[in-house]
């Protein structure tokens, strides 16, 4: 592998005015290096690389622009680089604007960069601030994400993880949960989006984040959004249910096809159950979740589930749903004060469970 010095020698060639063949070779070398952890670390320490790369993304030669973006995608996965891009340069607004334009050629790379830049909490705060400065910025992102073939040359799947990162923060969740607009209603169908794990996983994480806002539970569960069936449908299988069992169940979950498949990714299944779990932390939410026969779907999932972690979460939710309700003063489970020693025991139990899972996976 090239050493630091040799790598630095490439920097002067990374300019828009350089001969294309020379630039292309230099860049090619750089891209290759960002494929390795060591390579990224090497370049992360020197701002000259990203500074040289920003202008090159606008190179008229498509291959050069592509390689420049690809390098930035890889580099931005590094926390130091991400922090630097967000804090030291004014490029994030440009990225945000770029992905919301339907004719942007390299929008997919920029979606990946934005997803990388917003992963870390501190960076995410800054990206959110940039986004808030753009009029209707958040809604433009949602429009680009939801509208079919918004950008004919890019699929924009990575806006999914970007949205999930944004909703780590209260501001992001508030934007997703705007009751006066049609935002979350457009996002929920993507829990069934088969063509991309990235898009689907991103949206499920976004919804899970949104479900942490207990004040919105009754709205999320009302007809205006009706989030529950969208969370449960990926967990439902082809098992034939009796009419009694289906009575009261949302339409989406009734009479499913014999070849109905469950969400294949255990991490996504886990998030879906956790989202429903969140909806059950308030008494009102719990009552609705129960009334809609969630138990039946989870019962079938439990029979089918092989992943120990998901199975365990599923069983916990089942016991919450079939168990007696806690007394009134404990009806909001999130507000219950847990004594220190009990918390300790719980943490211990969780840790033990984690280890068991780890062993089980081997």
């Amino acid at each position: 592998m090239a050493g630091k010095k040799e790598l630095e020698e490439l920097i002067p060639f990374l300019t828009l005015n350089e001969r294309i063949d020379v630039l292309s070779v230099a860049l090619h070398h750089i891209v290759g290096l960002t494929g390795t952890v060591d390579g990224i670390l090497l370049m992360a320490s020197d701002k000259r690389y990203i500074e040289a790369l920003f202008p090159l993304t606008r190179h008229p030669q498509d291959a050069i622009a592509t390689d420049s973006y690809l390098t930035l995608v890889n580099l931005s996965s590094n926390k130091t680089v991400a922090s630097s891009i967000v804090a030291d340069y004014d490029i994030v607004p440009h990225f945000l604007e770029y992905v919301t334009k339907s004719d942007s050629l390299h929008a997919d790379y920029v979606c990946m960069i934005l997803s990388n830049l917003s992963r870390n909490n501190e960076c995410c705060v800054k990206v959110t601030q940039y986004l808030q400065k753009i009029d209707g910025g958040f809604n433009q992102i949602v429009e680009a994400f939801c509208k079919e073939k918004f950008n004919p040359k890019n699929n924009l799947h990575y806006l999914g993880p970007f949205l999930s990162n944004l909703t780590q923060l209260h501001e992001g969740r508030k934007a997703v949960l705007d009751k006066d607009r049609c935002i979350i209603q457009r996002l929920i169908p993507f829990t069934q989006y088969e063509a991309s794990d990235i898009r689907r996983g991103g949206i499920v994480a976004t919804l899970k984040n949104a479900c942490f806002e207990s004040d919105y539970h009754s709205w999320l569960l009302s007809d205006s959004v009706d989030i529950l069936p969208r969370l449960l449908l990926p967990l439902a299988g082809p098992e034939e249910l009796t009419e009694d069992e289906m009575d009261g169940m949302p339409f989406d979950l009734q009479y499913l096809e014999e070849d109905k498949k469950r969400e294949p990714d255990p991490d996504i299944r886990q998030m879906l159950i956790e989202a429903v779990f969140q909806l059950c932390t308030t008494k009102e939410g719990r009552d609705i979740v129960k009334a809609k026969k969630t138990y039946i779907i989870l019962r079938e999932l439990d029979r089918w589930e092989k992943d120990p972690k998901v199975k365990s979460t599923c069983q916990k939710l089942i016991s919450l749903l079939i168990g007696d309700d806690p007394p009134d003063d404990l009806s909001d489970l999130k507000k219950v004060k847990i004594p220190e020693d009990v918390q300790k025991q719980l943490d211990e139990a969780d840790k033990q469970e984690e280890e068991e899972f780890a062993n089980a996976e081997i």
Binding site: K147, D223, D226, P250, F251, D252, Q254, Y255, E257
Partner: protein, 383 residues
Amino acid sequence: MAEKHGATDLSSLAKALDQEIEDHIDSLEKKPYTEGFSEENWEKEIENVPLFMTKSPNEADYANNPALAAIQKIKYDEDSTPVEKAQSYKEEGNQYFKERDYRKAVFAYTEALKENFDDDLLKVILLTNRAAAQFHIENYQSCMMDVARAKKLKPDHLKALIRGAECLLKLRKYEKCLDWCDMALKISPTDKKLLETRTLADQGKRKQERDERIKAKKMKQKAEEKRVLETAIQQRGITIKNIEAPEDYSEGSGHEPIIDSDGVIHWPVLFLYPEYAQSDIIADFNENHRFVEHLNEMFKEDEYAGWDAEKKYRAERIEIYYEDMSSRKLNRVMPDMTLAEAITMKGYTLHPYTPHFIILVAGSPFKDHYFENFARVCQQMFG
């Protein structure tokens, strides 16, 4: 070319004309004036004066009211430009719309659109207005055609998009409705009515999809039942008449054979009474049941069918036959036979999918006549 008159000519002509009028007035019958307003009819008369009309006139009004026709003529003067004409038709349409006379509104907007003008915005407004009128008289297809045309001319005309979304909801085209809602919401993101329409479309779509799943399941189940039934029929060695089997098994008799969970076939059976051109259908004839059981039930003592003029169709006198075309004979089925036995007898061919039997009365002249007739037909057919 106009004739030239001298001054004397003119004055004499004027005199002559005056005289003519005088004569005319003198010749009129002298009678009191009664055609004006009276206490009884003043409201009606006032209504006929264009200035005081409270309702828009219709075709008949124009014909009966010269003043109105004159105004109408001025309104649609030949000298007006097409845009001006379209505009006045539009106003007329709007007036009808306000009065909830949607059919006339459609007519007026249609007239406006017939004008040859280039103003796209006016066209879009006219189309959207006509769509609204069509919507109110539930002409949803026509409504949809107009908003689609409007959208083509001006893709961001909010009113057309909203109307289209509402119309698609009525037409139960939910998927499309969601698209139109989203297009409209892009322009007016917080429109309450739109958000509601979208919610309804989403619910409708999901219910519709559920119903389709049920339908598909039922069809599949039905196909499976049909397959089981066909296998069972085959296994019994029943000969099926070589005619095109109906798609729906219940065709003809209104009933279809079913196979129960024990694998027993329940047939619809047709009894024919050729003597009186009558028939009976037994909807559920268990293949293991005997004919006599049904006959006893159908021909109870002292109960006769309305058409049985001679009261001779009694269980104990009835004979059951089927046509055996292979040996060109009428074969008899004994009453203590089961249906399964009967339809697997030599030469029995099943009319798909309802077994037929001919009922005759023992010793009746008609029976002899029927046998003779059958023999004659066979003779003609097969030589």
